[in-house]
């Protein structure tokens, strides 16, 4: 597997050259967002009102386990990916509206998202579900918990500084999706196993 190191903000040509199966080590800044934050970004927010810039940015489908230290700073207890499919309906609008270049999550996303990745020049990166300690170890700092007070801590948008966060490209900007391929192949095998004799 080819391995590339990327640093945010990502340029369009950075992500357009990535293919399914490339191992990525991502450094810079990622912003967590799950169900509530996606509805907010797609339907309510405008780029100007966010305390961070998502142009060339990376959204991480994650509801982190964060605890507040006595001095008011935040400690990341655990931070693995959540299931991305729940965010399918919002992601194309968010990519368009904010110029996001990569989504990190688990389980992959649907055909509409795949088409939007191709059109707008963005990729989907799979992180390993449940690997919350390995992934938290790649986070060096939690700088901001936007809307955490309104949406609840796991649903808030946390800005994470990361160093060589490990993921793999599973949906690229050429219209290829490893998730789609695995699903189609498994469907064919299932049909064989359940054929009526």
């Amino acid at each position: 597997m080819r391995e590339v190191k990327l640093t945010t903000p990502l340029a369009e040509e950075d992500v357009r050259t990535l293919d399914v199966g490339v191992r990525v080590l991502l450094s810079g800044e990622v912003v967590t967002a799950r169900d509530r934050a996606h509805r907010y970004l797609a339907r309510e927010a405008s780029p100007g009102e966010l305390p961070f810039d998502l142009t060339g940015g990376v959204l991480y489908h994650c509801g982190p386990f964060v605890s507040e230290r006595e001095d008011g700073t935040f400690e990341l207890v655990a931070a693995g990916p959540t299931t991305s499919a729940r965010m399918n309906i919002y992601v194309p609008d968010i990519l368009r509206k904010f110029g996001v270049r990569a989504i990190i999550g688990k389980g992959g996303m649907d055909a509409r998202v795949l088409a939007a990745l191709k059109e707008l020049g963005a990729v989907y990166l799979a992180a390993v579900g449940g690997a919350a300690q390995v992934l938290a170890a790649a986070v060096t700092e939690v700088t901001c918990g936007f809307k955490a007070d309104v949406f609840g801590a796991p649903e808030g948008m946390w800005v994470l500084r990361v160093t060589e966060f490990p993921a793999v490209v599973t949906m690229d900007a050429h219209g290829r999706s490893l998730h789609e391929e695995v699903e189609a192949a498994s469907k064919r095998r299932l049909e064989k196993m359940t054929a009526v004799r």
Partner: protein, 288 residues
């Protein structure tokens, strides 16, 4: 007898330490995957994560799940006190950072903040005869809960008739539909029976069984073995990235059913199959 501290400790172990048989099955799975593949990478990461969580006493996964308890109590023990102790331990485990606050009021959308609420945690209590008190428990992740499925036999599209072969077809369909969304490799619990609430509870309870445990009923033992093999031949793989291990184990159980009803319930445990047991003897001493 104080139960709050030992149950809090049970929470710590479940959240931070993967049971040895599950960790062993993951190591074995790693050997089966091709070198330099996404599947192999995923398992390397998973195994490193298991070590890191144990070392640092940190939750394996940020989703510390819904706690589910199966209590077998002695006749002399008061069920209410046991329930109170579980609730107090749940609050304490949340305070200590073993559990993320996961309990959300379905009406208001508010998080209770301490993992307690209506039917949260889930607590099953039955009266036992031998041990004074046995508490089995699991932390059931939400991603794997969402891919669970129920079928009502027959299912024409799967060629599934009202028998165990029909159940087999349903389980394979459920695994295929789950793909990588619930964090494979999975532990799969299966129940066949005729009442919706009973099959759902029985399927989930199968997730407590050890990885190498085989049903003592020959027909179910064979079903478990065949489903393990066939599920893995679907090729979904660790994290759903393709590969040889989609499922670590399949555990099946059956109930008598109403003659008109035939349900197949499929429960999924993620690879972080967090379960534990606490036994408290008559002197109040406790051990795992």
């Amino acid at each position: 007898m104080d139960l709050v501290e030992p149950i809090t400790e049970l929470y710590r172990r479940m959240s931070c330490e993967l049971p040895g048989d599950v960790a062993g099955a993951l190591e074995e799975a790693r050997r089966r995957e091709k070198k330099d593949s996404p599947a192999r990478d995923a398992l390397e990461t998973i195994i490193e994560n298991v070590h890191l969580a144990r070392e640092k006493t940190r939750p394996l996964c940020q989703d510390t799940g819904t706690p589910v308890f199966y209590v077998t109590r002695a006749k002399a023990m008061n069920e209410g006190e046991i329930r109170e102790a579980i609730l107090a331990a749940t609050r304490e485990a949340t305070r200590r950072g073993y559990l993320r606050p996961n309990a959300v009021d379905s009406l208001s959308g508010e998080n209770s903040g301490d993992n307690t609420g209506v039917d949260f945690p889930i607590i099953h209590v039955e009266e036992g005869t031998t041990e004074p008190l046995v508490i089995d428990a699991m932390l059931k992740g939400g991603g794997s809960e969402n891919v669970g499925a129920r079928y009502q036999l027959p299912v024409a599209s799967l060629g599934a008739s009202r028998d165990l072969d029909g159940a087999r077809r349903c389980v394979l369909d459920a695994v295929q539909r789950a793909q990588g969304r619930g964090c494979p490799p999975y532990v799969v619990g299966v129940a066949v029976g005729g009442a919706r609430d009973a099959t759902a509870a029985l399927a989930k309870r199968q997730l407590l069984r050890a990885i190498d445990d085989r049903s003592p009923l020959a027909a179910l033992g064979e079903l478990e073995e065949r489903l393990l093999d066939e599920s893995n031949r679907l090729g979904i793989g660790p994290a759903g990235l393709g590969g040889a291990t989609t499922v670590l184990a399949v555990k099946a159980a059956a109930q008598h059913r109403h003659c008109a009803c035939f349900f197949v319930e499929v429960a999924f445990g993620c690879w972080a199959m967090r379960r534990g047991r606490l036994i408290v003897d008559e002197s109040g001493a406790h051990h795992a």
